[in-house]
């Protein structure tokens, strides 16, 4: 049976259909559920094997990207999401979804104010849309585990700059294998903070992180926008690059095995 994925559609989600297409192609059954339905109707969270918070501009990024959606997650669904995460089911937040997971404290987990992380304004000071190359690193993360090839896909954000208040948090993330994805040059060498390979100034080229358990992934880039060969910017030069499908297939396979 295909794992059912709950696609949480908040006010301002806009890459929900993109990720649903990617999940369908990868073998899941995505079901879009508007946040208001989650609040007003009895939704059986147990019926879902995966949770996806898609990209977008929830609440128009008012007061900081993802901030108000994070507030909703904590105010309305804290128990359901905590149970979902604790049960080990795959959860993914992409772009605005990542921002919400981070600002709600679901990622990197155990977040406290003294050792907080954030996704802040890109160093170049504006939104940018471009293709990037990602190295899947974490073998703890069920989404990136075993992915050998670098993924190419676009970023499209203004607040994707991963920063921490205290560098020891980086050491913790690193030691717990929570650094799931990093930006690299197209040849796979580390971006080392160089623009535009690292498109936003993130510390240690971090593009995505997971929780210590490895089932929750947040990432800024959009693997869901590289699922067909003709989406690659150089397909007309016969360049293909690795799609984002492997990442989704990983999550789906894991969900199916639970």
């Amino acid at each position: 049976m295909k794992p059912k994925a709950l696609i949480l559609q908040a006010r301002g989600s806009n890459r929900d259909l993109d990720v649903m297409e990617a999940l369908t192609l990868s073998g899941a059954e995505p079901i879009g559920v508007p946040l208001n339905h989650l609040r007003s109707r009895t939704t059986d969270w147990h019926a879902f094997q995966m949770l996806v918070i898609p990209g977008g501009f929830s609440y128009a990024d008012a007061l900081g990207a993802g901030k108000l959606l994070a507030l909703d997650l904590n105010s309305y669904f804290a128990d359901e999401i905590n149970a979902f995460v604790a049960s080990g089911k795959p959860v993914i937040g992409i772009c605005n979804g990542f921002q919400a997971l981070l600002k709600s404290g679901i990622l990197p987990e155990g977040n406290d104010r003294q050792r907080a992380s954030t996704l802040t304004f890109n160093t170049q000071g504006h939104f940018e849309c471009r293709w990037v190359t990602l190295a899947p690193l974490s073998q703890t993360c069920i989404w990136t585990k075993g992915l050998n090839d670098n993924i190419t896909c676009p970023v499209a954000h203004g607040e994707g700059n991963f920063q921490v208040s205290d560098l020891t948090l980086i050491n913790t993330l690193s030691s717990l294998d929570q650094i799931a994805l990093t930006y690299t040059h197209p040849d796979g060498s580390p971006a080392n903070g160089e623009y535009p390979a690292n498109p936003n100034g993130s510390v240690l080229d971090i593009a995505g992180i997971c929780n210590p358990q490895g089932n929750v992934l947040g990432l800024m880039p959009h693997p869901e926008n590289h699922i067909h060969p003709t989406q690659h910017p150089q397909w007309s030069r016969d360049v293909s690059g690795q799609t984002g499908l492997g990442l989704f297939e990983n999550g789906i396979k894991y969900a199916a095995g639970l």
Partner: protein
């Protein structure tokens, strides 16, 4: 209740402050050393100290990057460093402030029920290299006006600002009766001017006659409604006018009379082409075409020029929002945006600006930010566009916003029934955008910004996203019988149009307001954004309400469609408008205008073999000329802007705005494969625009831009038999016979060219009165500007072609009738040589060339293709080299002894194609009896070499081309 001020400050590095500093320096303020901007939040309510702290920490601050302080107002004055001065700005009351609403909502969600209302603002701390307080203050004031605040939407002050909340005025039912029945001509015109109605004497007399017959005077609601319905913006009275045409010497022209430009030239072309794949042209909110067995596609392009001149961000923002609603108005899902922008030169000196005009840099950054904000947030990719510069656009920028939609075939209906409810969906109604329709029909002057402040709207893309979510589902459930968007003229226009076939009875008191105190005419005319009007059978209301609840969209029942053939509007039961549809929609007198055609161009088109180029450009100059062309603002890379737009969302962008091995070559057109469509078919989106040609010869300009739009589409693989076009005319004051003359010439060119290429017009729009009366008493008019937008189709997206050179050893062909000229050329601009020649002539063989080209693309013989446009053959070749980071060796013995003309002259109907050696025979055969020339080959050595008769005319490393074309290349980190 107490008001608190929260100040949120960023840590050591704040990209926004860096950006402001850059802008300040670019404007020539060299005394500023540092600028630091901070966010201000004003919260009114009853709150404990601890609650305030919690609010600051958990809601307003990013704990990693920001710190927040707060204080109760009035706060004690704090002395700053002597070199520092503070400027604060806040929105004027009534200007949409979406963040403020979210603060209240979120505070309540967090449990801070004592929060009553909120407002936002900005603080700027300016550090000058002078400590003289007077000098500081004068510099700060100048900066505030020029850059930091826009008085149209904001109040600002040196020092601390106090917030202003919308006044809680008593709800106003005030209706004024305008006694016009006894007025003489002067009196009638005075009424029109006082109410900014933009109506002329004939129209005022028609209104007077109607009310004399009715035996009463109009209410203000009626008058405003008529003025709006009859406005240029809504009614296109110039394009429908009766025109008496004469030659410059006073003699009669041929034709001497034109009865409606739309009918005579634009609709006539569409009718004569009679393309069976056109589903709807000119009648609906957007033009509609067949796509495949399952889907139809729609397209609309609007202008939002005047609002963008006075409030660039809001103007462009709502321009995008408006055209998206046009597509929603044909029940389609918006899938792509296109934006063509025209600005004044970015290096214009502040002192050269006419009074009341914003600096072109500020206009550009505001407009681009407005486009970016709306498109990105609502989730529609911006995939095509152009940016052009001309001094003529300094006071009157042009902002063309286009949107493409897709819908299942046959689901869109426009068939309201008596008994259907009049349903208003979306945002609330405020005083925003009042008289926008008539405002856009007037010439601007220095006071325009001040008087028309109410015309300015700020968009709310997230609310409009909710409309998309509701309407597409309502369409699939068949919940409505008619739909239209609230654009210019607001409810008056939307409900008025929908009721024009049957009649309606509307109660204004039901309309949900942002704040009380609106007079009935203001409610009726408000152009508040993000609203749609639907005709809904009563039985479907609850299902629609469900959808609206799900997507946080407000639904308001404001009345009923009737069978009375009259439009009746009430306020609290009292009738404030009661007009016969026949008068409102057909009672206006046809406008009578005079036109004087421009002088026939004195230089014949074939003059290009006369005279010598050597006086124009020496061979040694060709390299520097090419570099100058590549760095000309019109030609240079637009990557810095393109990357601000999300062109990937919805996953359908197959040919992106930037192409090539380093993703920085300029694509000719966009190709889309919409998610959810089966099969291989794709959509092609391109445009043509050339104000330089417009200045010289409006008729040929129209031909050239139709050709350019088609040519661009052909380059990426569009089927030449399936291209539809849209026209957008931006012209000056049509009451001047000379202006009208060039308009007719352009329209005639549109007609002739469309028939030539078989491209029907499916929609169009005119924006006239693009002029600015400066304080100097001089008229500042824009160049005659015609945008042709093309919506094409490609049979299989996998056959799409990009413009970047692919492989060394491939051959390069020049396809098309190469007739280079210097008239209106960018060569003339960069060499400061005013050409007396005409602009490029129509190309008779272009359609056949394009058909062969398409056949070659389908067969897979074309590896890359690029069109010849501004800057001619040399610029086209250079851009292909940049795209592929490969060289070209071209030998051009086409026009003997005319090297400058060959390299830089501009022509219609020509393309460059890269063909692999094994395909050349087949490729050449496809072009049998058509103009085609093999002009060279692709080289691995990255140098562009252009020779004539084996003599090198130009040789430039590709790296130099890149540097000239894009001084901030992709691979370098931008300065911060």
């Amino acid at each position: 209740m107490q008001i608190y001020r929260f100040v949120v400050q960023s840590g050591q590095f704040d990209p926004r402050s860096v950006g402001y500093l850059k802008d300040v320096l670019a404007l020539g303020f060299n005394n500023l050393q540092r600028i630091e901007c901070q966010d201000l939040y004003f919260i009114e309510g009853q709150l404990q100290q601890e609650e305030l702290q919690q609010l600051a920490l958990s809601l307003l601050t990013d704990p990693v990057t920001q710190t927040t302080s707060f204080e109760a107002l009035p706060a004690p004055q704090i002395s700053l460093n002597p070199d520092t001065i503070r400027v604060e700005a806040a929105l004027r009351p009534g200007v949409t402030d979406p963040v403020a609403g979210q603060i209240v909502r979120a505070a309540h969600e967090l449990g801070f029920k004592g929060v009553h209302r909120a407002a936002t603002g900005s603080r700027f701390e300016l550090m000058f290299d002078t400590c003289d307080p007077q000098e500081q203050a004068s510099l700060a004031e100048k900066l505030a006006r020029q850059l930091l605040a826009n008085p149209v939407i904001q109040r600002w002050t040196l020092g601390e600002i106090t917030p202003s909340f919308p006044e809680e005025a008593a709800s106003s039912g005030a209706v004024e009766i305008l006694p016009i029945r006894l007025l003489d001509e002067d009196g009638l015109l005075e009424v029109s001017i006082n109410r900014r109605g933009a109506l002329d004497l004939a129209e005022m007399k028609a209104i007077q006659a109607y009310y004399r017959a009715e035996g009463r005077d109009p209410s203000d609601v009626e008058f405003e409604s008529i003025a709006q319905t009859w406005s240029e913006h809504c009614n296109h009275k110039t394009f429908k006018a009766h025109l008496d045409i004469s030659l410059p010497d006073g003699g009669p022209a041929e034709p001497a009379v034109v009865d409606s430009i739309i009918k005579t030239y634009l609709k006539a072309a569409t009718d004569s082409i009679a393309a069976p794949w056109v589903i709807s042209a000119f009648v609906d909110n957007a033009g509609i075409l067949e796509f495949d067995d399952d889907f139809e596609i729609s397209f609309k392009v609007e202008t939002h020029n005047h609002p963008s001149a006075i409030e660039p961000f809001g103007g462009a923002n709502t321009g995008v929002g408006g055209v998206i609603r046009d597509v929603l108005g044909v029940s389609a899902k918006p899938i792509a945006n296109t934006d063509i922008l025209c600005f004044g030169p970015q290096d214009t000196h502040l002192d050269e600006l006419p009074e009341g005009v914003l600096h072109p840099r500020r206009i550009q950054s505001g407009v681009v930010a407005g486009v970016q904000d709306y498109g990105n947030k609502i989730g529609i990719p911006t995939v095509n566009g152009a940016i052009l510069y001309d001094a003529g656009y300094t006071a009157n920028p042009l902002v063309f916003c286009g949107c493409v939609g897709i819908a299942p075939r046959g689901r869109h209906h426009k068939n309201p029934q008596p008994g259907d409810r009049v349903i208003l969906l979306g945002g609330r109604t405020g005083r925003d955008g009042l008289r926008g329709a008539t405002f856009s029909s007037m010439t601007m002057d220095a006071q325009t910004g001040e008087v028309s402040g109410a015309s300015v709207q700020i968009g709310d893309p997230i609310t409009e996203k909710g409309l998309i979510d509701v309407i597409l589902r309502a369409r699939d459930l068949g919940l409505y019988s008619d739909i239209t968007d609230c654009g210019a003229g607001g409810l008056s226009s939307a409900a008025g149009e929908m009721a024009s076939s049957i009649g309606a009875d509307i109660e204004l008191e039901n309309v949900q307001l942002k704040y009380p105190g609106l007079a009935p005419w203001e409610i009726w005319l408000s152009e508040a954004q993000e609203r749609m009007v639907l005709a809904v059978p009563p039985a479907n209301i609850s299902a629609l309400q469900d959808l609206c609840d799900t997507f946080d969209t407000e639904l308001t029942d404001i009345g009923e469609f009737t069978g009375s053939a009259r439009l009746v509007v009430r306020h609290a039961g009292q009738v404030v408008l009661d007009l016969a549809n026949s008068f409102l929609h057909a009672g206006f007198p046809q406008r009578q205008l005079k036109a004087i055609l421009p002088e026939a161009h004195s230089q014949p088109a074939d003059n290009q073999d006369k005279g010598s180029d050597t006086t124009l450009a020496k061979k040694a100059d060709h390299s520097s000329t090419l570099l100058a062309l590549l760095s000309h603002a019109n030609i240079a890379s637009k990557a810095a802007t393109i990357r601000l737009y999300d062109h990937e969302i919805q996953g359908g962008t197959v040919v992106k705005p930037l192409a090539g091995i380093l993703n920085d070559g300029p694509s000719d057109a966009a190709v889309l494969k919409p998610i959810g469509t089966r099969g291989k078919r794709g959509i092609v989106l391109s445009n043509g625009i050339n104000p330089e040609y417009g200045k010289v010869n409006a008729y040929r300009m129209a031909w050239a831009v139709v050709d350019e739009a088609v040519r661009n589409a052909i380059c990426v693989g569009a089927d030449p038999g399936r291209i539809a076009v849209l026209d957008n005319f931006c012209w000056g004051d049509p009451k001047r016979p000379e202006t009208m003359g060039t308009l007719i010439e352009a329209a005639r060119g549109c007609h002739d060219a469309a028939i030539h290429y078989g491209t029907p017009y499916i929609s169009g729009k005119d924006s006239l009165n693009n002029e600015y009366l400066g304080a100097d008493g001089q008229r500042h008019a824009i160049p005659p500007t015609l945008l042709i937008s093309a919506l094409g189709q490609i049979e299989a997206v996998s056959q799409a072609i990009t413009m970047d050179l692919k492989k060394a050893g491939n051959f390069i062909y020049l396809a098309g009738d190469f007739q280079p000229t210097f008239g209106g050329s960018h060569f003339s601009m960069v060499t400061h040589h005013t050409s007396s020649e005409d602009v490029p002539a129509p190309s008779p063989v272009a359609p056949q060339v394009y058909r062969s080209f398409h056949q070659a693309i389908q067969a897979g013989w074309v590896k890359s293709a690029h069109d010849l446009s501004e800057g001619g053959l040399a610029v086209a070749a250079a851009e292909m080299c940049i795209g592929g980071r490969l060289g070209l060796h071209l030998d051009l013995c086409i026009v003997p002894h005319r090297s400058a003309r060959t390299l830089f002259g501009e022509t219609n109907g020509c393309l460059l194609a890269e063909v692999a050696p094994e395909d050349t025979a087949a490729f050449e055969k496809a072009f049998e009896n058509k103009p085609i020339l093999r002009v060279g080959s692709v080289t691995s050595d990255p140098v562009l070499v252009m020779c004539m008769n084996n003599e090198t005319q130009l040789s430039l490393p590709v790296a130099d081309l890149v540097t000239a074309w894009n001084p901030v290349p992709e691979l370098l980190r931008p300065e911060n």
